[in-house]
Assembly symmetry: C2
Homo-oligomer: 344 residues x 2
């Protein structure tokens, strides 16, 4: 399917839900409308940007619109901390400070706002990052859905780590720190009352300490990426594109919890496109793979770390493939993007 | 009027529009719910916070929910740049980088999104600040009102300027860089179709260059504040509170454009509580006042700079008074906050 680009010939085009889902539609909106307007140059899209003049500092921003506000394993407050801390961590950075900006719908019970902010405060404290500034806007009933939170974070890079989505190399091992699909299926099941929410919980958690365990590996750590919107499929496709390499993973090696598999079966979803908020993908030199796995497994959030694949020595640039349980090979496409709105 | 604080005894309380209007309700929400949850310590509320470990860097965040998206003199895109650049400038900082995060309602015409982003990009270019990172979320129809934008900025302080809302001193001259009331009355008139919008335009513009003209005055510049939500009345009350001083201004000295006065008459608004987006209040040593006015008048955005009052030598801490045109004295209260929702 080809998405028409927004041009003066298509002025009747409107924003679609899929434009925000982290897949191909999001990428096209970015490439064809947002980046040109903001004079953004070409280059890999990273989770966090370097601050001009301060090469050791990175900045990342995220607005959280998850619905419902509370779900097993977390809520919009803890998610808003973890999401931004993790985007900083994926650039090899330790979080120094967070800003928090609220957009609140008139009529939201103060008790709910207090519960969200307490959770946010606790998550920030647990992650060791101070909330240094904020903003609160209130809009009338019906002008927002309860509560949206933006967090923006500043992080300081580990001296030895300079991961980038553009640095995957042929022969790299592809590592995954934990099971996939928990966050997206939990939120969806809670929102739609599907009944799986008793068996699963979001994996939302901070990953900067997990990244810290990889610091001793230095330049052998080529890419770090947390597979949030668009899931593992989107993350691997972005890396394959930005590094101009072919990536292959083994279906049997990707940990998918049973309840996630059941929920995905029911919903017709591929677990590879479901959002995660507490695991990361690392591309490391093949020689360093065992050491990286040992390091990751030394902390709780990396206890389930496994090797799931590799960068092919000479595959077509940008292609991601999956070796299935029966030994066949299928292409893992960049998700178009409409499957799971308001998951984060 | 006393506002009940949110406690377990008032769990039926909800967020009101006035909680976001920048007045007393906003301050109470901050003091009693938000800051305790985030473990915020006591101290003056500033427009931008210092970054831990980097005393020359400041960070500020703002979410923009203005309705309508386009108004005479600007739009949500330019406003989102100017608002954050100005919050950095009020801490004596030059903007280094901006993040931009969008929350878009499904169905927003791409042409409108493009127009807003082009304006945002142009405003950033004009201000000389790069947009280094961003985020886009899309929510379903009715879950947001068209478009909200968060910008977060990092700024580098002028070595000589360390203004703070807590540094006003008895005897200080109170300076105002330009006329008040234009932004709020323009947005309100456009939204409600009041008919003034042909005669007035928002004053939205960046103020960091204006602040730059004050850098040579160094420590004689005690306080800088842009009177946005809650207008001049809120800004002066915050400064009087945080510095524990009494402030008095002359009604005859405060420049109120004729069309603003007419609109405020019609609406029953006090021009002192109407939001501005292109002027600032400076508290400077009395000896430095003339030099500061000359410096401000050297750039277009400060051409109308005037002295509007002083910090009284021994007035009651926290009180702001106005000497009226007929020589009487009235208290300028902190606005409660409900007057002008969604003005920025």
């Amino acid at each position: 399917m080809t998405i028409q680009c927004p041009t003066p010939h298509h002025d009747d085009e409107v924003v679609l839900l899929g434009h925000g889902a982290g897949g191909r539609l999001t990428a096209e909106l970015l490439d064809r409308l947002i980046l040109p307007a903001l004079d953004g140059g070409p280059g890999p899209m990273e989770d966090a940007a370097l601050l001009p003049g301060y090469r050791e500092l990175v900045i990342s921003t995220d607005s959280f619109v998850v619905s419902p506000l509370f779900f097993p394993g977390g809520d919009i407050g803890s998610l808003a901390v973890h999401g931004t801390v993790n985007d900083l961590a994926m650039r090899g950075a330790w979080p120094l400070a967070l800003s928090v900006s609220l957009i609140v719908e008139e009529g939201l019970p103060l008790a709910e706002l207090r519960a969200v902010l307490s959770s946010l405060g606790k998550a920030a404290q647990d992650a060791g990052v101070p909330v240094v500034t904020g903003d609160t806007k209130v809009v009338g009933r019906g002008a927002a859905d309860r509560l949206f939170i933006n967090t923006t974070g500043i992080g300081q890079r580990h001296g030895s780590l300079h991961p980038s989505a553009a640095l995957a190399r042929p022969g790299d091992a592809v590592l995954l720190s934990g099971p996939v699909g928990l966050h997206g299926t939990t939120v969806l099941s809670t929102r739609e009352g599907l009944g799986f929410e008793g068996d699963i919980a979001s994996d939302t958690r901070p990953l900067h300490r997990l990244v810290g365990t990889l610091a001793p590996l230095g330049a052998d750590v080529h890419v770090l990426r947390d597979p949030t919107r668009g899931g593992l499929a989107a993350a691997l496709n972005e890396i394959a594109r930005d590094s101009s390499v072919a990536v292959e993973i083994e279906e049997s090696a990707v940990p998918v919890p049973g309840a996630v598999a059941s929920a995905c079966d029911l919903l017709g979803l591929d677990p590879l496109v479901v959002a995660n908020e507490g695991c990361l993908v690392a591309f490391v030199s093949a020689d360093a793979a065992e050491g990286a796995l040992r390091a990751m497994r030394s902390v709780a959030e990396g206890a389930g770390a496994v090797r799931i694949g590799e960068v092919l020595p000479d595959g077509p640039a940008g292609r991601v493939t999956l070796r299935t349980l029966v030994g066949a090979r299928r292409i893992v496409e960049m998700p178009l993007g409409e499957q799971l709105p308001r998951i984060c």
